[in-house]
Amino acid sequence: MDKEVVLEVSTPVLSHAATTDPHLHSFKVIAGGLPCYLHTSPEFAMKRLLAAHQQDIYQIVPVLRDAERGHKHNPEFAMLEWYRVGMDHQQLMDSIEILLGSVFEGFNKPWHKPQRKRYIDLVEAVLACDMQSVTTKKIQQYFDKENRSFPSGDISLDAALDLLIDTFVLPEFSDDRFTFITDYPASQAALARTAIDDQGNAVASRFEVYFGSLEIANGYHELTDANILRQRIEENVQTRKQHGLDAVTVDTHLIDAHQAGLPECAGVAVGIERLLMLLTGANSIDQVIAFPFERA
């Protein structure tokens, strides 16, 4: 980071507002008699700094997510998050390759050139059909055919797609190198911008980084448009309402920052414990945490 002149910053863990993402559960706390939240990532605060200073920034910070616990998840973990002004997600991926390459060199781990795959291509290859014709039903039939369990109840297409990738694609990823997945369906854009690909699919300009089937990073060519941001937040609020989830306080500072002018930039977050898992060959996150949640 020093070599590339990326400035280290520090932002609050405790905030008056929270992410509206229906799949992220912020811990709610009472601070000074007011309901507040512990951040699930430093993204919003870092974007406010980006809007104010238009400069490359990074930090390593603990983040907290309720209802996430398993071999690869602990409710509290460390995140390395950084933003590069003027880069798109492709350029950011190139720069991550260099960073990860130097980490591997430092750990004397053999380095193999990472692969890049498009989410949409991966889905089409498994199901042998066009992305436009994929439905939850079709995915469910594929699970049945392969004799794998598909959850019952109302499963959204995005959830079904993710489960398809997790069940049939990730286990096939090369386990001696990184694989970048890019070009997600536009419905999974979160805070990334969207684009139209060569086949006419609306895609999200975002990526995830895997080593074998272990996800270690998630990055976006960041959405800068305040109106689209407002719209996505509104959709999240509605989804939360429909699913009976906690109606969190919306971060108006983030919307103001977009309004004031977020620079064209790309950002990424790396899970530090996940990186340690793959560097040490640990198969459970508990092996790289001194006090996992149950003993914290």
Binding site: H23, A67, R69, G70, I155, D162, D166, Q188
Partner: protein, 188 residues
């Protein structure tokens, strides 16, 4: 009706699936992508013993199975049911052929067994890990042959057939490990 949310899932938890009691063997929290999280489990059907994969949406609730293991004393077999008694409450219950499995091959009266109850009825019966039984019938022993290994089938008083060393005689009492069905030692 008691139920468990997926975030309470852990190995050994008993839940109802498709009308049958199941025990969770493995539970993995999966959060593919940035969306919906799931619990991918392996569950054992306690009636059939079959282990299958079941994936649940995270936060989904599943009905708890009223299953418990109790130590009970074997009393007698009436030709259809094997009757057991709870030594504390003196309550008696009959286990059918399905619940008994092969357990009846090892049972002497008064043996203490682990009986798995589902809705208060016997679902499965495990005999004691070790039993001491008398040999009803086996080929004549080879006297003095205590070292060369080799074995022969012996029919026990309870119906089981166990491979015993050649020197063991009819009418002798032996100790058997019921989990493997193997001879352990002579009982003097």
């Amino acid at each position: 009706m008691a139920s468990f949310s997926t975030n309470e899932f852990k190995g050994g938890l008993k839940i109802m699936l498709d009308g049958d009691p199941h025990s969770i063997v493995e539970n993995e929290f999966v959060k593919p992508g940035k969306g919906q999280a799931f619990s991918r489990t392996k569950v054992r059907n306690l009636k059939t013993g079959r282990v299958v994969e079941r994936t649940f949406k995270s936060g989904e609730s599943v009905e708890a199975a009223d299953v418990m293991d109790t130590e009970m004393q074997y009393l007698y077999n009436d030709g259809e049911h094997w009757h057991f008694m709870n030594p504390t409450t003196f309550e008696q219950l009959g286990a059918d052929k399905t619940a008994m499995g092969d357990a009846h091959l090892w049972l002497q009266e008064e043996a203490i067994c682990e009986v798995t109850l589902f809705n208060g009825q016997p679902l499965a019966v495990s005999p004691p890990n070790f039993v001491e039984l008398v040999i009803k019938e086996t080929d004549p022993g080879l006297r003095g042959d205590t070292a060369t290994g080799g074995n022969k089938p012996a029919h026990m008083e309870t119906g089981a057939v166990v491979k015993v060393p050649l020197f063991i005689e009819e009418g002798e009492k032996i100790k058997i490990d019921t989990r493997s069905g193997e001879y352990v030692s002579r009982v003097k």
